[in-house]
Symmetry: C2
Subunit: 313 residues, 2 copies
């Protein structure tokens, strides 16, 4: 369930002209930018980009970059891109910023197999290198193996569950949590090749055997980056809504607010399941997500996020 409110009928030409008008004169009319782009779905936004190019012979994305600033600019920039292209940018920024591998794991484990392929294709088009090439160049050891396994995965989508496999592979994961020598490679194999349905059965089996969830265990015991990446991967595969809720919660809680994380979740999920994430957030925190966002952000950035969160004026 999306939070985005987009009218079914819009004229890309009129939108392009309104945007161009918003750019005229001293300063930019940010409210108009938000009123238009904050209420258009992915298809409509691409139509507007094309219409803008045709009418004004100018790239709308470039124009926006010169018109607006700061967190607001970043959010609008990410929002206006097609999802696969946006994720390619997020992945590249994550790699360049000291290899924030959690974002790589998130993209690899939350997306569907075909969506993930689309991101790899977009990355290649944009950076003339493959995503796995850049990931591999910035990592080593088991962390590298895990990230490469996840990023290049093309999982089976199906409901079949092999209970025996779930049992034996729950033990493989347990050994990796316990850092038993040689167990990491088997855990990587399991996490990067099995279908999500099968993996969820394995996580459930783990809880039955060990009386606690594997993520709880990892949260308590994770001792290195490999285990932390394992933790994120399992959370994203097991229940990405709960995962995103926590990302948003931590972003808001952080002194000074982690705008990048907040933007990432809102922009990536507004057209997908931000409503569900928002509900889980409310259940967990007894505060409406839009109130928390409104409290921690300001100006056009705040206004834009609230618009994507479906809060009408």
């Amino acid at each position: 369930m999306a939070t985005l409110i987009a009218p079914p009928n819009h004229s890309p030409q009129e939108d392009a002209e309104s945007l161009n008008k918003a750019f005229q004169g001293w300063g930019t009319d940010e409210r108009s930018v938000i009123a238009i782009l904050g209420h258009r779905n992915v298809h409509q936004r691409q139509q507007i980009r094309r219409a803008y190019e045709e009418i004004f012979h100018e790239d709308l994305v470039k124009r926006l970059e010169s018109e607006i600033r700061g967190d607001f600019e970043k959010a609008v920039y990410r929002w206006i891109l097609e999802p696969a292209d946006r994720d390619a940018v997020l992945a590249n920024v994550a790699i360049r910023n000291g290899m924030n591998y959690h974002i790589i794991v998130e993209i690899s484990c939350v997306l569907s197999p075909e969506e993930l392929l689309a991101v790899r294709r977009a990355y290649l088009n944009r950076y003339k290198r493959s995503l796995e090439e850049d990931v591999a160049a910035h990592t080593s050891g088991h962390l590298r193996q895990l990230l490469l396994g996840l990023v290049t995965a093309y999982r089976y989508i199906g409901d079949e569950i092999n209970a025996k496999l779930a049992q034996s592979e729950a033990e493989i994961l347990h050994e990796a949590v316990k850092e038993k020598k040689g167990s990491q490679e088997e855990a990587i194999r399991v996490l990067s090749t099995r279908s999500k349905t099968q993996l969820i059965a394995t996580f459930n089996r783990y809880r039955e055997i060990h009386g606690t969830s594997i993520t709880k265990k990892l949260l308590d015991e994770a001792s290195d980056e490999f285990q932390k990446a394992l933790y994120t991967a399992i959370r994203c595969i097991n229940d990405h809504v709960k995962y995103y809720e926590k990302v948003v919660r931590n972003a808001i809680k952080k002194v000074g607010t982690d705008e990048d994380a907040l933007t990432r979740v809102v922009v990536s999920r507004a057209e997908k399941d931000l409503k569900v994430i928002s509900e889980v957030y409310y259940k967990r925190n007894s505060v409406l997500l839009e109130h928390a966002v409104a409290k921690e952000t300001s100006g056009d950035y705040k206004h834009f996020l609230l618009t994507l969160l479906g809060k009408q004026e």
Copy 2:
């Protein structure tokens, strides 16, 4: 340059009816089967399959399986499949037959990035498991890492070469040849993520530095399966025509002939570059490939291979 001779105009309906006629009565009219299917391109063969299904409410592939036998059946079966589906079958057979990893390497390193993705998609559709899942389940250690890296690669296609990188990565490969501890993972990274153009520059740099090609070096020194897979990967990336020539040469030379390998190359390349492979074969062996094939095979199988090799009656 293909060897296949296919007429531009054919009627899928007439072909389907002729095939059905060839199946009637005692025995099968194999000559007709060859005369039709041995002269149809991939698109035409799929049209015939559809037409056959529509007219006779029967799967042509299944019917063929019950009509013909042995190496001839295998060759026709592989030929009638779409290339990605055929490679999925070849990969699966290779995994089941004691993990013939050279075929996995061949598929991964010869195909274009999009072709390889198509094979992974076909594998998933056919076997309800991912290709990498099956590869990982049957291998371990560095061999597994290398095969997974190659099979899941989505390389950049472009002509840019980074000469500095070629230099430093030639040394990484050299360390892996020398089995220096820890060098294998870096060699895997290089081989599974760099563009083919970049890798060829790296192989060339290797020859300049060490006075001999890396494949020659590996051929002399390869001590385990990992190094043998490395050897095959480098050959397939560097010059797949020369690689295929050798596969065919070894298949023919072998006592009893390796029909599976021979069939694989002829069927996979007849619509692509079998003419070039055949020319390289002649240069290397001073024997025409079709003569060698005619000498080592017999019956309908021989007749079918020669047809795909472009030898008209």
